[in-house]
């Protein structure tokens, strides 16, 4: 029984190592997606905040989603990562901050 567990653990560890890049990236998808698409929903398409919150909702919850109406900046946090997007102009719309 112990041996089976050990093999499973080793396999799991190997998988995590093999996928380390993809897993590290995965952490940042939720907050980047939410910040960018919420910014565009609000400041490009011009929809209201409750609609846009529902629009970006995913299976995994965000820990924070905030907008600054004056600077038209959006900050989203989830899975321990924070990302920000900002509205850049009437033709340029929104973009993620580096």
């Amino acid at each position: 029984m112990k041996r089976v567990l050990l093999v499973l653990l080793l396999l799991g560890g190997a998988w995590v190592w093999y996928e380390r890049q993809a897993l590290a990236d995965f952490q940042g998808i939720l907050s980047a997606y939410s910040a960018k698409e919420y910014c565009s929903c609000r400041f490009v398409m011009g929809f209201d905040a409750p609609y846009c919150q529902a629009y970006v909702r995913q299976y995994l919850p965000l820990s924070r989603l905030e907008e600054n109406g004056q600077t038209r900046e959006v900050s989203a946090a989830g899975l321990g990562v924070e990302r920000r997007a900002v509205w850049r102009g009437v033709r340029e719309g929104c973009g993620l901050l580096p």
């Binding site: 990236d25 995965f26 940042g28 980047a32 997606y33 490009v44 398409m45 340029e92 719309g93 973009g95």
Partner: protein, 366 residues
Amino acid sequence: MKKVLSGVLLGLFMNMTCAFAEEVWPLPDWSPAADINSPAWDHVQAYAFAPRDEHNREGVRTDALLVIKSGRIVYEHYAAPTTAQTPHLTWSISKSVLATVLGVANSDGRFNLKDPVARFYPPMQAHPQVRIEDLLHWASGLDWQEDYEYAPLHSSVVAMLYTRGRADMAAYTAARPAANAPGQRFLYSSGDSNLLAAALRTMVGPERYPQYPWEALFTPLGITSAVWERDVSGTLVGSSYLYMSARDLARVGLLMLRDGRWQSQQLLPKEWVLFNRSLFSKAVSQPGEANPGGQWWLNRPLPGGEQPWPDAPQDTFAALGHWGQALYVLPEEQLVVVRYADDRDGHFEHNELLKRVLAAQAGGRP
């Protein structure tokens, strides 16, 4: 003799003015047909605007549906909060509009389809055999995984838009390894479209580039609502992030319906539109999926395959985007259809919508 000649010329002139007078253009705005939104459209409305499930987000969830027949609005409806003024996200319809912008650059002699991409975008020197034509066919041969929700761990498009690629989407794509020889295999890739967006910068020059889609296409067509987002490096996100109102997108449809001509101006070479509407012969038929042309989607069947949308005419072509965005052009019927949506599952069917649209507009035909 002179009299005869002037008579013939006068006759020709009268004919020409008649031909132009018959054509209706959205100048300055679209005009409605006499029987706009008649009861003939009830079955279209019932399908497109079924009661919405906001909690589970299931089923067909149309935000906007606009049908233009011979240059006039025959049907138009919006679901709140989308309105006739909303610059709605078009997702991958952006790709076909980018191709249309490239068509204007092509008519100005700024590139040829057979040119290597590396001539306009140096990072592609890693893949010197890839030509502009291959990118337009989504056949760069570069390795790519185009999945959004179902494979986020290995999705190239998600990595390009939101993580490793977001600062410079074209550079991210050019750094992908080759999986196939260029021009040999269709592999739908948003990366290929963003390489085109990056190549456009060199074609038209870095100063003109930021305003080029407006100068070349939007302003001549009277499009005022367009927004086109860029990545951190300033490259247009040609794959995904164009926004405009349904009425403005229909202008692109009308331009394509009329073979690249806007009123008396041939904005796109006719050969360019022909290229957009020609099948990429090396593509393989996928049941129910439209077939790839030159950065547009075709209803024409591939050899040995079925017609993707059996109830629509074979010459139907379209620009299609994530979550149900669509711009359909039906030349035989003189129809342009814009659909904006927020479909979060696979319930919506292009064929079903087009079938109902065709039935509705046939009802009003003399």
